[in-house]
Each structure stands twice: as structure tokens, then as C-alpha cells.
């Protein structure tokens, strides 16, 4: 189910994760191709976030291979991993903005860390346009995270994730907790940034509208494995009960209708 002309950016093979006796993943295989938006779905507690944490190196897996941007991720030293970290951006589920820094300073953190020779005026300009790019108003720049609404936190976190012009973007439930209008706006923003900046996106979501609106392929986690990867029509053709219930349930049908209206309109 991997596209023929796939240039793999992330390759996961035989991944196994467990916490004590609870096995979360047992033999996960997944490939993310350059330039695509891959959505990862699964019920609550199926280990979507754990998969993300294993790929970005925050969780050491029990077994398996993980390759990101051509580099092996398992058992690397901090120094070696630094070069890869520079090439990706991560949007955490709750934003994870540094609470003692303003939004603009949050964006500047990673630039300062990797490129200490950029002068402060240029740094501030870069932070300004990243903030504008992620759809925030300029007056959000000097605000602290505690003064922001949920939608603004997501956008500020996106601006921080985009700070280093990454090739690869990880999004953990970007539209969770947003109202439908803000969520649709966020989907559009991700899609347009992905096209303009030539990004590869790994997206964890519960939001069916997001899946229909922006994902090129969708991977489904269930029973500790990736049970299927493919476009939504391909997944609909499978008769796995969870997939059927997920996409054919009332919410799934509603999202499909919306998506259809969107494309025909």
C-alpha cells in the first residue's frame, strides 16, 4: 500500500513498545513518503502519541527499527540526534509553549539554539514573519502563553514548529479543542503551508474532517498494529469492523458529505 514513487522520510519496522505488562505496540510497520500528509488514527489508548514519541526519540522502544530522514533513530547519542532535530518541527498536543517566554521568544528559542550568530534584529524579523505565517495577529508576539486562547496556542506552537524551516512536521492532534471554524481554518493553514514550504507531515488526529480535508493517506492503529494504510477510499473498501465503524458511523458520514460538497463546490 506504499506508493510506487515513494521517497521514504520515516520508516518504522517491527516497532514494539510496552509499559510494564501492558504492550502498546507489537510489530508496527509504517512508511512516510516525502511530500505527503499522513494521518494516523486509532481509538483512545491505542498508542498514537506513543508512536509519535518513539519516532522523535522521546521514548525508547523495546524492539524495532526507526529511520527518520535516512538516519537510524534508535540508540543514538544526543549529539548525533541534534542534526536530525534541526530538520523537523513538532507541534505537541497542548502546545507545550514555554510559559516564561513570549510567543515571539518561543519561536526564537530553537533558532538561537542552532544559529547563535544570527543578529537579534534579524532574529526578531524572522520571528515576526513566522508568527504572521501561522495566522496570528502581530499583537500576539509579545504575549505570554497564559494570555492566549486555545486556538492561538496551537498557532503559536505551529509558528515555533516552523521556526527552523523544517522538512518534516509532526502534528499531535492539531485541531483538538478548537471550534469547527478554527479547526477548518487550521486545516487550511496546514495544507497551504505544506504546499508552499514543501513539507512532509505526520499528523495524529481524531478529527474526521481533517482526514478528509488534508490527508493524502491514512494509517489506522488497532490491536497494537497498523492494520491498514491507504487513501480513504482504499480504507473504506476494507471490511475491518473498527475502520467501518469509524468511517461509516454518523460522524464519519457527515465528514464525508462535507468533504464531497467541498470538492464539488
Amino acid at each position: 500500500m506504499i506508493p510506487k514513487d515513494c521517497d521514504p522520510v520515516i520508516t518504522v519496522r517491527g516497532l514494539r513498545n510496552s509499559f510494564g505488562d501492558a504492550v502498546i505496540h507489537d510489530g508496527i510497520d509504517l512508511t512516510l513518503c516525502r511530500g505527503e500528509i499522513l494521518g494516523v488514527v486509532g481509538g483512545s489508548g491505542t498508542g498514537k502519541s506513543v508512536l509519535l514519541r518513539s519516532i522523535i526519540g522521546l521514548q525508547t522502544p523495546d524492539a524495532g527499527e526507526i529511520e527518520v530522514l535516512g538516519e537510524n533513530m534508535v540508540g543514538r547519542s544526543e549529539d548525533e540526534a541534534k542534526n536530525i532535530r534541526r530538520r523537523w518541527g513538532i507541534l505537541f498536543q497542548n502546545g507545550a509553549l514555554f510559559s516564561t517566554l513570549t510567543v515571539a521568544e518561543n519561536v526564537e528559542v530553537s533558532i538561537r539554539e542552532y544559529f547563535p550568530f544570527i543578529r537579534p534584529p534579524l532574529l526578531d524579523e524572522i520571528a515576526s514573519y513566522k508568527i504572521a505565517m501561522s495566522g496570528l495577529r502581530p499583537d500576539a508576539g509579545p504575549k505570554y502563553p497564559s494570555e492566549l486562547s486555545g486556538g492561538m496556542i496551537k498557532r503559536a506552537a505551529l509558528a515555533r514548529a516552523l521556526a527552523l524551516d523544517p522538512e518534516l512536521l509532526f502534528l499531535d492532534e492539531p485541531t483538538a479543542g478548537l471550534d469547527p471554524i478554527a479547526a477548518a481554518g487550521f486545516d487550511e493553514l496546514i495544507k497551504s503551508l505544506q504546499q508552499r514550504l514543501d513539507l512532509t507531515v505526520f499528523l495524529i488526529t481524531h478529527d474526521l474532517d481533517t482526514l478528509y480535508a488534508i490527508c493524502d493517506r491514512v494509517a489506522v492503529i488497532a490491536d497494537r498494529k497498523i492494520i491498514a494504510v491507504g487513501t480513504i477510499p482504499e480504507l473504506l473498501a476494507l471490511d475491518h469492523p473498527w475502520i467501518q465503524e469509524y468511517f461509516r458511523g454518523p460522524r464519519g458520514r457527515a465528514a464525508a458529505v462535507t468533504a464531497e460538497e467541498h470538492t464539488t463546490a
Binding site: 550568530f117 524572522i126 509579545p142 504575549k143 524551516d165 514550504l197
Partner: protein, 367 residues
């Protein structure tokens, strides 16, 4: 890797910046310096650029914006990147605006005074709220939460026995050692016992215990309530109809008030023990003599002085711990700040009250 050439521009025709390879964030600092060093009118040649990111585009764009630079050899992708960053040229401030030096000083002073006032009024209000809470409990004793109180007894009292005991034992040794060194100069080593007995029973036992309880339990109260405030647990309690004062504050207060005298008594005993061990080993005074002498020189009023203060200190510690915890609002950083404030505030109040008690007990003749 990018190779950047810039032919000399001193021929009167301005400078030309020829970018090659990757025009990205990796070399943003040096690229900016090289562009800035070239004279006007500036031309930027992008023909040989293989990869450009938004930071590279921004560098080119700001040269166009600020210096009217001419761009040649841009591919379609590069042109569209340049247009994009131009769209996003909306200057944003990085830090909140701050007024000038003197005004800021005045503003900070004003804020500080206002906050001190608000804290004082708030503390008074909180004190009132807990009294109302106690009143309600007395009228409806069935709402008293015995389990919560017993659990707090365990956390505040029983689990503190080890550390408070060890601390007091060591303090007893230190007092005995320092006292004997000084008193030996007058040949009056035997008065070391008077020193140990009176200072630990009357003052230090209670005071050190209060400081320990403030650090151990006062801070915990503030952090627990503060975290519950942030996670909206306290709001949830209110909506269910459970009073947070009754469910959270009063058990902690009872625990601190009841446990403080017991812990203070324990601390006195251990400090006397530590001093006794020292005088036995270092000065050769046997334990029997030590205890006899203690009985002669330490009046029972000293014990009362120590024990009467203890519950008051416990109350102060629980009050400021719970009060600061309930003041937490917004983010998790506040929990840390409020916890620190709770400890500082309670130790300060304890010492102020200790001074008041000292004068009071002297004046009523408990010398």
C-alpha cells in the same frame, strides 16, 4: 554547502551578491553580513541557488525592501517564496512594552504596595472564611471529614517524626558543644545543662519544628491546592456542592494545629537527648545527674511557653499555605511562586509571633 562570492563592488556600479548552492537558515548570519557589506545599488543573483528556504527568501526580501535591491535569475519557486514572505511582512513586537526606568520603578513600587495590601486583606478574608467553615462544621458535625483529617495527621505528623527528630537531636548536640566551649572560659561548664534545657524547651524546639513544618507541609498545602486550582478540581468541587474550605482547608488546618504541639514536644525531647549525649561523652556528666539537674533548672512554665505557641504556629502555617494555594491562577509557574511565597510568609509570621509571645510571657512573669 553554499559558496558565496561577491566580486568587488567599488567600481561605482554598486555590489552584486552572487548566491550559490543553498540559501538557507544555516548560513543566515554570514549571508546577512555579506549582503550588508556590499555598497548600493545592490544586485542579488539567484541563478545558481539550488535550495532556498523562507529565511533565505527573507534575507533577499529585506534587501529589496530596505535597499531597493534588484534580483536577477530567480526561478519560479524562488519568486513564489519571495512573494510569500512579502505577504507575511507584518512587524510584531517580541517583548511586551516596558515604560522607562523611573516610571517603571514607581509602577513596581505601586504594584508591590497594592499587592501587599491585597494579600493582607485576602488573608484576613480567608481567615474569616475558615472560621465560617469551622462554624458550619460545629453546627453540622456530620459533614466533618474524619478520613481526610486522619490522613493529614499521618502526612503532617507521623511522617515528619524522623526528620524532625534527627534535626532536633543534632541541634541539641550543637547547642551543648558551643555552649560548653564558651562556658568553659569561666569554668562554668555545668551550666551547659541550664542552657540546653531552657533554650530547647522554651524556644528552639517549637521554633525549629515550625520552620520544618512550614517547609514540609506548608509548601505541600500550597502546591496541592494550587495544582487543584489549575486543573479546575476546586471549581468542580464547588459545582458539585462540596465546599473546598470544608473538604480541603479545614482538615489541613486541624492537622497542623494538632500535630504541631506533638511534634514540638518530640523535638524538645530529642534535643535534650542530643545535649545529654554530648555532655555525657564530652564533659563526663552521667545521664542521671543530667536529668536531675534539668529538673532543677527548667521550670514547668518553660514547657507551657513552648507548647502554647506550637498550635498557633501550626495554624499560621496552614493558613498561609492554604491561602497561597487558593490564590493560584492561570499557569503552572504560579504554583511554584505561590509555594515559595507560602513558605516565606509563614516562617516570617511565625517569627514575628514568636517575638510577641516572648514579650508576653516575660511580662506575665513566666521567666
Amino acid at each position: 554547502m553554499a559558496q558565496l562570492e561577491h566580486p568587488p563592488g567599488e567600481d561605482g556600479n554598486g555590489g552584486t551578491y552572487v548566491a550559490t548552492g543553498a540559501l538557507t537558515i544555516t548560513r543566515a548570519g554570514s549571508t546577512q553580513r555579506e549582503i550588508d557589506a556590499l555598497p548600493d545599488p545592490l544586485t542579488i543573483d539567484l541563478t545558481d541557488v539550488q535550495r532556498m528556504d523562507t529565511v533565505g527568501a527573507w534575507l533577499v526580501y529585506r534587501a529589496i525592501r530596505d535597499r531597493g535591491a534588484k534580483v536577477v535569475g530567480a526561478s519560479r519557486v524562488e519568486t513564489s517564496l519571495l512573494e510569500q514572505v512579502a505577504d507575511y511582512d507584518v512587524p510584531a513586537r517580541v517583548r511586551p512594552e516596558q515604560p522607562a526606568g523611573f516610571i517603571r520603578l514607581l509602577a513596581e513600587l505601586g504594584t508591590w504596595i497594592a499587592e501587599a495590601g491585597i494579600t493582607f486583606v485576602g488573608l484576613l478574608g480567608f481567615f474569616g472564611a475558615t472560621l465560617v467553615g469551622f462554624g458550619n462544621l460545629i453546627r453540622r458535625p456530620r459533614r466533618f471529614r474524619l478520613n481526610a483529617v486522619v490522613q493529614r495527621f499521618d502526612v503532617v505528623g507521623v511522617r515528619a517524626l524522623g526528620i524532625i527528630g534527627l534535626m532536633s537531636f543534632l541541634i541539641g548536640i550543637v547547642i551543648a558543644q558551643q555552649g560548653s566551649v564558651q562556658l568553659a572560659q569561666f569554668g562554668a561548664e555545668v551550666y551547659t545543662i541550664n542552657l540546653i534545657g531552657r533554650i530547647t524547651v522554651r524556644e528552639l524546639g517549637t521554633l525549629m519544628t515550625a520552620i520544618m513544618v512550614a517547609g514540609r507541609s506548608g509548601s505541600a498545602f500550597a502546591a496541592q491546592l494550587g495544582t487543584m486550582k489549575i486543573t479546575e478540581e476546586i471549581d468542580a468541587m464547588r459545582t458539585i456542592g462540596v465546599s473546598p474550605i470544608e473538604a480541603l482547608v479545614i482538615p489541613r488546618m486541624i492537622a497542623a494545629v494538632v500535630m504541631m504541639p506533638l511534634l514540638a514536644f518530640w523535638a524538645m525531647l530529642l534535643a535534650l537527648l542530643g545535649g545529654g549525649v554530648f555532655v555525657w561523652l564530652a564533659l563526663g556528666i552521667p545521664p542521671v545527674t543530667y536529668i536531675q539537674h534539668l529538673q532543677e533548672v527548667v521550670p514547668s512554665t518553660d514547657l507551657w511557653v513552648g507548647l502554647i505557641k506550637a498550635p498557633v504556629f501550626g495554624f499560621i502555617i496552614a493558613l498561609s499555605g492554604c491561602f497561597q494555594g487558593m490564590l493560584v491562577e492561570g499557569n503552572s509557574e504560579q504554583v511554584g511562586l505561590r509555594t515559595t511565597t507560602a513558605v516565606v510568609q509563614s516562617i516570617f509570621l511565625v517569627i514575628v509571633l514568636d517575638a510577641v509571645f516572648a514579650v508576653f510571657f516575660s511580662n506575665i512573669g513566666w521567666i
